[in-house]
Symmetry: D3
Subunit: 61 residues, 6 copies
């Protein structure tokens, strides 16, 4: 049941997603002792035109 | 004003989305007595390569 | 793995939460044929001072 | 660190996104005195077939 | 139907929430021409011990 | 700018939150090469009465 949502700018390779899924899950399981199979994780690849930092679109930075 | 966000792996047909929208809204209205038109619901179809369970991408299961 | 997040204004009784959890899960399972035990659902009871509709806090309506 | 997530039905132009990013950030900075560069904002353009109001898909309205 | 979720560290006064609700709603309505009463906005006041930047809890900064 | 939201059932100690914040941030930075200070992470401790799995509240399990 730990739920994780990760939002990043731009595209990730499948290997990067596997690395994130495995690594983040392991950290949470180790810290919380929750069962590994209970961890549900979503990755969102966001377009830089849809993210802003300090009021400026990342695409415009 | 009840807000509902539903994330599922893979694609849904329009009929499935209609079924979910209507059914989930009815359940919430019945349970909470909130006005039906106030219920705002979002459906996200997620790629199996962007979801992991127990550290493993659903696409790899 | 269907993930559901439901945000409502004010407090709900445990019975209302049970009703929502069961009813919403059944609707999603029926519509998507996903396994019932895979449905993960979160309910958030929000204070009316933290929600606004049309720019007005619900507490001020 | 203020995090803002904005979900709208349909497509927005880049100019609309710039207007939203800048305007929303300015409002939050003015109201909270948080540093402008700390404000992180995401915009999601949702398909009308994936949003429902009162149990009816916006596409069907 | 624009949905806005705003997460900030620490407590806000009611006046700050009114300012945010009104200001953010006006920006979105002006940019998108969506009807004002359709804008649904949630504010979450998060404890600094529950937020981290660069791996460090804000409470520890 | 990677944004991470983590929802868990029950309370965590500050040490567990530090462990999660540091560990998850390191995994994401290593996998994506994004700058460490750009990673913004939120932890939500959810009451077991507000989470359901398979239609059953975790509190009732």
């Amino acid at each position: 049941m730990p739920y994780v949502s990760i939002r990043v700018a731009g595209k990730l390779t499948k290997e990067q997603k596997q690395q994130i899924a495995q690594g983040v899950t392991d950290v949470i399981v180790k810290a919380t002792s929750k069962p590994k199979e209970a961890v549900l994780l979503f990755i969102d690849e966001e377009s830089p035109v849809n993210i802003a930092k300090g009021g400026v679109l990342i695409e415009d930075m």
